[in-house]
Structures are given as C-alpha cells and as structure tokens.
Symmetry: C2
Subunit: 676 residues, 2 copies
C-alpha cells in the first residue's frame, strides 16, 4: 500500500492517515479526539479503551480488519486480568495502527463524557471536573544537577502532561519526599483547575471523589460523586442541627442578634453535621475519605454565610447586605472539614442578592434559563420564594416573602410533609364530599382497605401540597369564592361546611385529630400565594411580558405539588400546563454540575454578574401586585391555558359583610364587594 493507513474515529468522525506502528492513542491525540487517560499511556488506568469496528466502510472507502490493529500485548493482558477490558475493547495506548481502521471511542473513554440527566428537558452534564489526576514518572535526584523533589515533579508534569506554572500547597511538600520514594519516583498527583498541585499519592492512584452539598435550613443533603465517571456513588441527608437555635432562618438570625458571637455556635453545628455527612457518604460508598478532593456547596445566603463563618446579622435586616456574593474557592480545612484529603478544596456557588442565594445560583445552573430563547419562570418555594425569570438575553431574580404557610406552618392543621400528612385531596362537585391520600399510604381515603392501611400511620395533619389541593378543589367546587371566603351559603348543601364564629370552615377529615380548613388557613395561603405571584409579576413587568413560555417549580415543595392546582390557586401565572415542570432539588443538582464541570463555575459567575437583582421590598408595584393577587386565581390576570384545561367556576360575588377575616395582618378595613 503506497499510502499510510487511514484511521477514522467514531463518534467524532475525525480521520487522518498515520504511519504503520503509530499508537492509536497518539493518532487520536493528533486528531484532537477526546480520549481519557490518567496514567499517560502506561497501560495502568484503562481509561483510554477503544473498540475497533470491523467491516467494510463504504462511506470512508476502507475495510477495517481485526488484523489492522496490533495483537493484544502483555500490558493489555495484565490489565485485562487485573481490572478487565470492556468487551471487544483494547487499550489505545498499547495498540498500534497496522492498516486502515475504524475505531470507536466509547463514552466511558472520553474525557468530557456527557452525563445524561433523568429529566429530558434539561441539558446533560459534560464531565470536566475541577480536579484531575495525573500519573507521572519523576527523575530521581542527581547530585550532578541538584534540584528539589518538587521541581523535578513539576518538570515531569510539564513534560508528560503539558501542565505548566503549577503552584503547590505547602502541605503537599510536607509529605512529598516520602511519597516519591514510596512510589519509587512514580506518583499520582491531583491538580486543581490546572493550577495547583493539591495532593500526591505513591504509584498509580485512580480514585478521586467530590461531594455536592445542599445546605438547607431544614435538611442538609450530600451526594458523593466519582470525579472520573461522574456517577453519584452515595447520597445522604441529615437534619440541619441549627434547628435547635431556631426553626426558621429568621429565628436563627435573631438568635445571633440576641447572643453576640452566637454565629460561632451555628457555624460549628452545621460544619459538624457536614463532616458527619461526609463520613457517612464515604462509608456508604466504601471509599477512602482521603480520596475526597472537592466539595461544592449551595445554600441560601444565611446558610452560606454561617457555613463560611460569617455572621448573618446583616442579612437579617435592610439593606440585606451580603458579605460576599462571588463564588469562593478555599481549602476544606478552612471551614473545619477535617474528614477529607488535606488538600481538598471547597467551592461555594455565588449568591445573587441578600435573599437570593447560592441555592438559586444552583437552580439556574440546573435549569439553564439563560441558554434558550423561551422565557422561563423558575420559582423555588420555601419560607421565601426565590424567583428567576428570563432567557438568554436577560435574566432577573428576586425573592418574595411568602412566609412558611406553604410548608404547613401557620395552617391550623398544617404539618411538614411526613407520614400521616394529607398530600392529595379531591372534592366531589356534587356531594362536596372529600377523598384524600396521606403520605405513607398508596390508597385514597375512599378506597377499600384505607383504614386498615393507615392504622399505624394515622391522619395527622395536612402538608403543603395537601393544603394547595384542598383549597383548589374547594374553589373548583364553589365552596371557596374567588375572594377567598368560604361560602357560608354552601352550608346548606353539605354538613362539611360549618359556621365557625363569623366565618365558615370545611371539615376535611372527622377523625382524631379533626382536619378542618379554617377561613384563617385560606387567608394564610392567600397571603403566601399572592406574595409569590407578585414577585413573579414584578419580574414580568420588568421584562415587559404578560406570559411566560415555561415554568419550573424547584425545591421539595415544587416537586410535591400538582402544578395544575398551584395554577388554579394563582400561585404562578398562566402557562401551558405541559410546559410546567417540577425540578426537584435543582439547587443540589446545580451543586453537582459545578462539582463535575469546572466551566460551570465560570458560567454561573458570569450569569450572576448579569442577573438583574430586584429587591421586592423597595418596589412600589410589588404591593399593588400583591393586593391584586389575593384573589383566586387572580383578580385581573387571565388564565387562558388553565381555563382550557380545567373548567374554572364562574366568578361569583361575595355578598356578606365581613371585617374579621381581612387579609393584611389584622388591619380592619371594609372590603369592597367583588363584582367581576
């Protein structure tokens, strides 16, 4: 054959001619084909496996034969015996081109693997961790040309990996000499962002892990990820022990205000819990904690500041100033995380504003509103709702003070989402009789065997999603009027509507405890939903739009509620229901993205810089929107998509004079009669 063999790599399609004897990995490298390696072509790591495709490839005008690849050699046989080659796979560093070839690079052999996410509507994660391992062979010291062990290691990293101008932690130097000698001048190093040498192991070492941590005010969740594969290898959650200093965020800030220096206790508590959680995920996955090299945190601003050892008192009052909003990188030991590799780095996502934290930054990374043309509305509901709106051109964010009603607080029979809590409700439009489901039981309350099934659980209260559904159903069946009044006139149709002083209530469950929806419960949810809607509406005003293309409900609450009911109540603006999604723990996913893809850190920094931050407290229109949004679903905003999907009741006038149940914190004022 006169010409050099042609090598075609799939799936990239890159192709080139190479002399007989060229190692396949070398051909790949020269063509810029993405093939992974930790050992640098020494047949140790097995990351560079390829699969020759045998057959006639008319498209390329070649025949790719098995014998066009050099036969299995000793290194491959050793690797196969020890760690196992994939079926039909070869180590590209050990195989040579002997003739025309079509070579497939399986996804696992690519440096920048795509990690496919469960939800189809979100982008995949490209694996590109901030910390990478490199096996390297170092020159032993030579008295004729004296140089430090570090300097020879850096020289080898430059020559063998092209890594230049690296810094090195002092703590690495403290063990470098024995490690180099234990590895007989062969070591594996971990490099942070191609800039700093953070740890070193003797010999070949192929284990690097990171943890994505979502520090919530109630729970802390940690996901241990393999930095080579991107796989989540263990997950665990724990209660945030700061709860003993205050149930909600503001009470913890109050604790610090009342007890100067109290932030030290809150900081210590959360750090200890995280340390324990890191121990737990490492133990669950059966990995060495010393192989954990990176931890990424998201959390709301108060959680973020307390984790970092910054007092949150400034976040407790206007002007709600953050100490810092940028993403930060530092040693894990700087925040007292002692269970990891000594060189392990922490990265905290940036905060956006005083009430819009690193958790929201995580949500943005996860949901990527900034990548498309669709106008996306993201709401993350907690004690505050964080709201993000926009697309690739503009992005706005605000926080709205919804209060804890959506979490079941301020509701007479409310409780956290836990076994025994009513989470689903339907009301028969004719009989006005309810049926419901409780957490921990698959049956509806009117199904056979329900009583038996819940005997050990009980019906203990109603959680956030349950309260949303029961109110929406009450509205759909006419029990609840558009202005939020439980219609006393309906008492004639069902004994479940009962007078309760000057107002009425709806009896959802007659057991012990009795689960009853009071007028005050409706008012609490009205206040919360009006705040949420008003925040979203404020951002829509800024963007000059009346409808959004897509809605994402983030957070635990968002993943439990039926989006239809949320829309019936008017929590969110009208939207095609098929384009309203629950994102689950999107903040935690954002942390995982930042853990697995270093460029996501630069990306979110850039996004956060250009996000337009709206402070609802200083926006006069917020109050107007808030008042307008008290109605169910809304006093004046149309809901055409919703109306097409759900037969909404005709607007009816509320005819009773009523002064006792006015929303607005007990201020007595005469309510206008509803006429629309």
């Amino acid at each position: 054959m006169a010409r050099d063999p042609l090598v075609v790599f799939t799936p990239s399609g890159r192709r080139g001619h190479f002399p007989i004897g060229t190692p396949v990995v070398e051909a790949a490298r020269r063509l810029g084909v993405d093939i992974d390696s930790v050992c640098g072509g020494r047949g140790l790591c097995g990351r560079c496996q390829i699969r020759p495709s045998v057959g006639e490839f008319a498209k390329h005008g070649i025949v790719s034969r098995a014998e066009n690849l050099s036969p299995l050699n000793d290194v491959e046989r050793r690797y196969d015996a020890k760690r196992g080659l994939g079926p039909g796979q070869r180590l590209s560093c050990q195989t040579q081109v002997l003739g025309d070839l079509v070579v497939d690079v399986p996804p696992d052999s690519q440096v920048h693997k795509q990690l496919v996410r469960k939800r189809a509507e979100v982008r995949d994660i490209e694996l590109d961790p901030a910390i990478r391992l490199h096996y390297v062979e170092v020159d032993p010291p030579d008295m004729h040309t004296p140089s430090g062990d570090l300097e020879r290691l850096l020289k080898a990293l430059k020559a063998q990996w092209g890594l230049d101008s690296l810094d090195c932690d002092l703590r690495v130097l403290q063990t470098l000499q024995p490690v180099l000698r234990a590895g007989n001048w062969k070591v594996t190093v971990a490099i942070h962002r191609a800039q700093v040498l953070i740890t070193v192991w003797p010999g070949f070492h192929d284990a690097a892990y990171g943890v994505a941590v979502d520090v919530g005010s109630t729970t802390i969740a940690a996901h241990l990820c393999n930095l080579s594969s991107g796989a989540v290898v263990a997950s665990a959650g724990t209660m945030n022990p700061q709860i003993r200093f205050g149930e909600d965020l503001m009470s913890r800030v109050s604790y610090v205000m009342m007890n100067p220096g109290g932030e030290v206790q809150l900081t210590a508590a959360v750090r200890e819990a995280i340390d324990a959680l890191l121990r737990e995920v490492a133990a669950d996955a059966g990995i060495d904690k010393n192989d954990i090299l990176n931890v990424v945190f998201v959390g709301n601003p108060i959680m973020h500041h307390l984790l970092l050892g910054i007092s949150p008192v400034e976040l407790g009052g206007a002007p709600f100033a953050l100490a810092v909003n940028s993403g930060l990188t530092f040693w894990a030991s700087e925040i007292g995380l002692s269970e990891l590799n000594r060189g392990a780095r922490v990265y905290t996502l940036p905060c956006i504003a005083g009430h819009v934290g690193a958790d929201t930054a995580g949500v943005i990374l996860s949901e990527s509103p900034h990548l498309g043309t669709d106008i996306t509305l993201i709401v993350d509901v907690g004690t505050n709702a964080e709201i993000v709106l926009g697309n690739k051109d503009r992005l706005l964010a605000c926080s709205s003070p919804t209060g804890p009603a959506f979490e079941g607080a301020q509701i007479s029979c409310g409780q956290r989402a836990a076994p025994g809590a009513i989470e689903r409700v339907r009301i028969d439009p004719e009989t006005l009789e309810p049926r419901f489901k409780v957490i921990g039981c698959e049956l509806w309350s009117n199904e056979a065997g329900f009583d038996e099934a819940i005997r050990h659980i009980g019906v203990t209260g109603i959680c956030g999603s349950g309260i949303i559904e029961v109110l929406a159903e009450m509205f759909l069946t006419g029990i609840l009027l558009g202005d939020g009044t439980i219609d006393g006139a309906m008492a004639a149709r069902s004994p479940r509507i009962q007078a309760d002083g000057r107002t009425f209530s709806y009896l959802l469950h007659a057991g012990t405890p009795e689960i009853r929806i009071l007028q005050t419960d409706v008012r609490a949810i009205q206040l919360a939903k009006a705040a949420l809607y008003a925040g979203a509406r404020l951002l829509m005003d800024r963007l000059g739009i009346d409808t959004v293309d897509r809605i994402v409900l983030a957070g635990a609450f968002g993943s439990h509620i039926d989006v239809k009911y949320a829309m019936i109540l008017g929590m969110i603006p009208d939207c095609d229901l098929a384009r309203v999604f629950s994102a689950g723990n999107a903040a935690g996913t954002g942390a995982r993205i930042a853990l697995l893809n270093q460029r996501a850190r630069d990306e979110i920094a850039e996004i956060v810089r250009r996000v337009e931050k709206i402070e609802t407290a200083v926006e006069p229109r917020f109050q107007e929107h808030f008042v307008e949004a008290m109605n169910i679903p809304h006093k004046s905003a149309p809901y055409p998509h919703l109306a097409a999907a759900v037969p909404l009741p005709a607007a009816r006038a509320h005819t009773r004079e009523d002064t006792s149940d006015t929303p607005g914190g007990g201020r007595r004022r005469r309510r206008r009669r509803e006429t629309t």
Copy 2:
C-alpha cells in the same frame, strides 16, 4: 499669563504645564513623579508631603514664589496639629498650582525610597514591599442594586487605586461586614503583591510591619521593619531551641532518623521560638502584633525544611535532595505563627541545593555578585561553608564540609565567641611571647589594667577568630611550619613551645584554664581551611580563573576574623586585601531586602535558577584540591597580593618523621618530606 504654569519636580527633574488649580499630587501623578500615598489624597496619611522651592530658577526660566502655591488649608492645619507637617512641607494632595513652581519631593515622600545601607560597597535597598496599605471609601449597600460588601470594596479599590482582579482571603470575609460598618464605609486594606486582599481595618490605618528572620542552627535573629519607611524598629535574637536535639545540623538530622516523627518536635521547637521572638520584637517596638503582615525567612536547607514542617532526613545523606528549592509564599498560620495578623504572609527565600540554602540566597541578594563584572567570591563559614563565585555572566555555588573547627569546636581550648574567649592574638617574632584580647575587654593582655579588667570575665578559651589569629601568628613567627607541624626545634627559643608526647604545643595563656594550642588543634583547622579553599578552588576551576577580584566573608565568623589572617592561613585564595570584605549577617540582610522589595523575590528566583550548582562530594578534583590546600597558606597556589602586604616566612622543610598527627581522620600513612 497666556501659558499654563510650569511645574518642575526635584530631584526627578520631571516637568510639565498644568492649569491653575491643579492639585500638586495630580501634576506629579501625570508626570509619573514617585509620590507616596496611603489615604489616596484625603489628607490623612501625610505621605505625600512636598516642599516648594522658592526662588529664581534660571535653568527652568521661572520664578517659583511661595504664593504660586495655594495657601495652607484646613485639612493641612488639622494634619499639622495632629501628626505634624515636616518643616516647610505641604500635603501635595491639598495644595494647588497657582503659578510656576519648583517642588521638591523629599525622600520620605517617595514610594520607592532608597534605603542607604551602612556598607558603602553594596547597593541600596529600594523600598517596594510586597504588602501595601490602601485607604478606600466604599459605597454602602443599596437595595436597588444589591451587591456583596466585598464586591463593593473591590469596586472601590479598582476605582480609587486601580487595583483589579483581586482575590480575598476567606478569613477577611469573616470580619469584613463589622469592619466596614465600624469604619463607616471607610477602611484601610492590606494587599499582597497587588493580588490578594489579606486584611482590613476600619477607618484610616497607617501601620504595616514585616519581620526578616534568619533561622540559624545556633541562633535565630529577627528584625522588625516598618514597611512604610523601611526602618528596622526592633531586633532580637534567641538560641535555636533545637539545640537540645543536637548541637549541630547533622546531629539533629540523626535525631530525626533515630526517632521517626522527631521532625515534629524540632519543627514545633523552632516555630515556638520564632513566635516568641515575634512577640518580643513587637513589644520592644511597642507595636500591635496585628500590624505585622509579612515574615521573610532565610536559613540553611535543614533549618528551612524543619521550619516548613518537612522532614530533613533526605538532606542527611546522598543525594541530599531538597523537598523544594523554590521560594514559597503562604500564610503565617500555616507554619503555626499565631502572633501576627491572621492574614499575614510568609515568604521563604529559595534554596539553591541540598547544602546551599535560603541563607545563601539571602547572601547573594545582599552582596549582589550577579550585578557586576568583578568576579566575586563569597564564603559563608559555618559547619559547612557555602561558597558562591561569579559575576553577572555566570554564578556558581557549592558547599564545602569544613566541619565545626572554625566555630571553636574540635579545638582543645575552643569555645563559642562569648565573653572570656580569646579573639585576637599577636606573637612577638623575637621573644615568641603572645599578647591577646578577650571578648568583653578592650585591653590587650600585656596592657596595664588587663588583669583587673578581666577579673569578672576570666580567660575561658579561644574562639574561632582567635584560633585563626594564633595559628597565623605562629606561622608568621616560624613556630608553625608550612605543613602544619608545630616546630619542635623552636622549643629551644621559648619555653612556650613544649613537647606534648610525640608532638609539640604552644602555650598561649598559663592561667586557669590553661590555653594551649595543640598539634591536633592545628590539624583540625588545617582540615577545615583546606576544605574551604578546595571548594572555592573548584568553582574557580569551573569558571576557568586563577584569581578573584573581590572576596566577601559572610556570617558571624566572617565578621569577626581579620581577613588578613584568614588569607595567611590560606582559607581563601589570594586577593587584594583592600577588596576583601566582611559582610556580617548577609543572609539576614538578604531576608530584609526580600521583605522590603518584592521584586527582589523575583530576582532571587531567577538567580537561583541559573546558579550552577556544584556538589563537591561528586567532584573528583575536590579531593585533589583539598590535599593540596592542607599546607599553609597553600602548597602550590601563589599569594602575590598577600606577600606584598605581609612578609611571609620562607618555606622550610619539615624534617621529622611523624605518623601520629597525620590529617585524614587517623589513617596512618607515611608523609613525604616537604622539599619546597
């Protein structure tokens, strides 16, 4: 006047026309005149003082009148009352150009002040510390455009000081919010190398200190410097407490070898001593330890490694591999220095080779052999002698194993340089009677009142410089032959030459204790001086030269000995005696230079990279030179400069058979008769 006023700055001579009303500091800035400021033109720091020169300046064609400068304003009056303006001086930030002016910028007002050193032959230090203070006024938080306190601080630093892309320590963030508020949004920050914000004080703060520390194996010396003026404001020294683990370096390394983990004890000991020393210098100067922001260390490789928490065992045997040779920068807290500002940084000078440490790098910075064309030989004598040779074209370095004889060890009556030690000796060439001086007394031993003067001191032994002088004098008077034998034939001329078994001794002092120079003492010094000479000669060979232009004796020993006597003994090669200098603690001076001038750190990094490192242990010629150099002053090297200055005795043959006192560690071999 049609033209704008002309302003001429002295001493720079920079000149330009500026509109009436231009602040003088602004005119200076536009012309690139070097004027200091911490407060950024707010009349707080007083660093920008200038002195108008009144009179006719024919050279510039102008008349500089007092009234051509705006009159003293309130800010200046306030400053003058509080801190005092210099005589005839004004704050250039408060004065405006009203007409033609000649303005002098006094040295104290220049950023890059020249610090004149005591020794005329060395270059001055240009003040340019790695850490600088900047007073800055920060925007308070604004709910309409939320941003973190740090981000607003960084914005202000960019706008007011042109500092861009700064990093910030997490530890700064932990106090940033209360500090900004305590300072009412006016703070002073310390910036390390124009890159990292390392600390912040409320309001205007004008105190920044650094410490240069020389960690010797025997003593640790610290110099506290004002980073604004460059002045040394306090100095202190302490014994290195590692001495309890071993008197000399090798015994400390042995301790670590025999006691695995023993380096932890040695590291803790030296760090504690340094911490105490830092406390001491701060107390002496009456400054707040929190104002100490930078510490620079020099030390030999073993001291360097132990300070950093690196085991020195690799330095205890071939191939003498350093863990690291580069200069390092890290937090003071990383090496347990807890007495300083939390953000304080440490810089350690680079090491050159396994036996040539950061102390030698400091000596090079201080003595600057790399700046001139003269071939300079630098020797720093301790247990090892570090030797540097070269000029701007080439620089070579090696270490030579002199052993501790020069420090008084291995000498029968030897002792450290301390009160009571004989440090100067003269021997009458006729009578062979000695006279001497002891440390702590100004009188010679033959002067009236000597006995009375030393009554409380005593004559306790002989130190390094004393042993050099007595041997040189013995050689000049013929008591000592060129081969190092005490000439028994001289016993006939003086009772001080006495038989001592098969060899002879010289009685220097008949008191209690008796100070006597034994043949073994001569041999010990011969071995040491031969090693020193051989090292220097090896470097001269490499450079292809036979003479050097300049010799610098560094270190405590070098500053105590009379260079003439060192040359008579042949410790150093021949050189014009007028060009042989004692540099004192040049290593410590180098540390001070690196403390006060950040570019010196880059400069020494570059020098150390290109220094040719010679390992005497693997150089076959070293042994040859060593043997040749046993003779006094040298078997074959001519000493024309020395001979012109000092009448050297004619070479005489040693005629006795002698096997007991052969140099070379007790190996018995038959010595050739000297015939030259």
